[in-house]
């Protein structure tokens, strides 16, 4: 959900709309915003599952420190989505569609 108008900050600057691709689906984003902001704005909060216990993770620290929000971006693994700006046509892959064998 986007904060379009704000009592102190005023109306949100329009910003150029771009399209990013998340696991094969197109998603609207605003140029220059971090990937994590674009995902949260579209209501997506689960960014990945962890390697050891396959638990969901999303944005935690928001400043590139904790690495909870990492995803694979344009083929590069471990990208901190909270401090990486979107770019038109960017391809983002989560591991959410991989179901570990035998997961109950």
């Amino acid at each position: 959900m986007r904060v379009t108008n704000h009592p102190v900050l005023g109306d949100a600057p329009p910003g150029r709309q771009v399209t990013i691709w998340l696991d094969g689906e197109p998603l609207a984003a605003v140029e220059g915003e971090p990937i994590a902001a674009a995902l949260l704005a579209s209501g997506r909060r689960v960014f990945r599952r962890t390697p050891r216990f396959h638990e969901p993770r999303g944005v935690f620290c928001g400043i590139g420190r904790c690495t909870d929000c990492i995803m694979t971006v344009d083929g590069v693994p471990n990208v901190r989505t909270c401090v990486t700006a979107v770019r038109d046509g960017m391809v983002i892959t989560s591991n959410l569609k991989e179901v570990p064998a035998g997961d109950q």
Binding site: P51, V76, N78
Partner: protein, 371 residues
């Protein structure tokens, strides 16, 4: 108060000390292990996990390594603890004809000692290890090479030693050795004196300082190895990798160009992918006293060398660096056995970069010696 009399007191909680404690306790001896800090706090917690056969010079060195390799296969089941042993095979990267000549003669001698090593031209080497640069000469391949997690190895030895009744005392510094009529019969610690039949000094680079008051001068000194750690990655490096210049530096240092930075810092490539996906990329070999800091020049040199041989790693992120102090000896061989003229004192130290590979055989041999 803990029991203060034992058959054997082991000084040092690294892979060597814990291996000695394990094999001795398993053989039924009463063992106490004294470690000033915590298990694997020193060199064993700051190194790679190579169990590499093909870097060893044929002769006693290679024989020890092969005996150790066989023991490793048993340890996987015996220790009942995941030491992340991976029998993935190893490669030594050859850059040019000079190195190829050295490796060919090395490999021929190894074959005579019963170790099978193949020499692969670059195309075949790159088929097996995708990250290798295309303009290299090639690589050797040895299926007997393997990898282990050194910290988990020391922990596995410790836990198993404890199950066999050994008394492990981390946080206990040995302040001196007790001798009676020329025979070593115990150690002093802040928590009291401990008496024993044998003291095994397995304190790596700190061993010379321990035994010097007895007039024994061991030629072991710290040699620093700086290592880079990368982010966790999908499978990227399939083998344990060394470069032939490591062997040149070890066996034919006169062939090195002293002007080149990576030679000045003694950089030899050593790369492995650990069980959690991160790569360990080493390493320098420098005499810097007991300083465990990493340096800008050292890290840059390791990175540059790795990029030259493995250009695919250029985009990989470095998340940490560390340095370990390896117990160097002038002849490249460890000091294992009873100290001459000092009955009761056994030395197990000076393994430099071979401590991980040789820890089982060292522990086993010392335990056999004290039966």
């Amino acid at each position: 108060m803990n029991k203060q009399t034992f058959d054997i007191a082991v000084i040092g909680g690294g892979v060597i000390g814990t291996a000695v404690a394990y094999y001795a306790a398993k053989a039924g001896r009463s063992v106490v292990l004294l470690e000033k800090d915590h298990i694997a706090a020193g060199t064993s917690g700051a190194c790679d996990g190579f169990i590499i056969m093909q870097s060893k010079n044929p002769g006693p060195h290679l024989e020890l390594a092969m005996e150790s390799a066989a023991l490793y296969r048993d340890l996987v089941a015996e220790l009942d603890y995941d030491i992340e042993y991976q029998p993935k095979g190893g490669m030594i990267i050859i850059e040019n004809d000079t190195q190829a000549a050295l490796m060919q003669s090395h490999v021929a001698k190894q074959a005579a000692s019963g170790l099978k090593v193949d020499i692969l031209p670059i195309d075949e080497a790159r088929r097996r290890e995708l990250a290798l640069a295309p303009d290299l000469w090639g690589a050797t391949y040895c299926a007997a090479d393997a990898q282990v997690n050194p910290v988990r190895l020391a922990q596995g030895f410790s836990r198993a030693a404890r199950r066999h009744g050994a008394d492990l005392r981390p946080g206990t510094a040995v302040t001196g050795l007790i001798a009676d009529r020329g025979r070593v019969c115990g150690v002093t610690t802040a928590a009291g004196d401990i008496y024993c039949q044998y003291v095994v000094a397995a304190a790596g680079i700190w061993t010379p300082g321990l035994v010097r008051p007895l007039g024994l001068d061991l030629p072991i000194k710290p040699r620093r190895g700086q290592i880079l750690v990368t982010e966790p990655l999908p499978p990227t490096i399939r083998h344990v990798l060394l470069c032939a210049c490591y062997l040149v530096a070890k066996y034919r240092p006169q062939d090195l160009d002293p002007i080149e930075r990576h030679n000045r810092l003694g950089v030899g490539l050593a790369v492995e992918q650990t069980a959690d996906g991160g790569l360990l990329i080493g390493s320098t070999r420098e005499f810097a006293g007991f300083d465990r800091a990493t340096t800008l020049a050292g890290l840059e040199a390791v990175a540059a060398h790795a990029r030259r041989l493995l250009p695919a790693l250029a985009s990989v992120n470095i998340i940490r660096s560390f340095a370990g102090l390896r117990p160097y000896t002038p002849d490249g061989l460890p000091v294992i056995g009873p100290a001459a003229d000092i009955p009761g004192l056994i030395i197990a130290a000076g393994h430099e970069g071979d401590g991980i590979a040789l820890s089982p055989v060292t522990g086993r041999r010392i335990a056999d010696l004290l039966k």
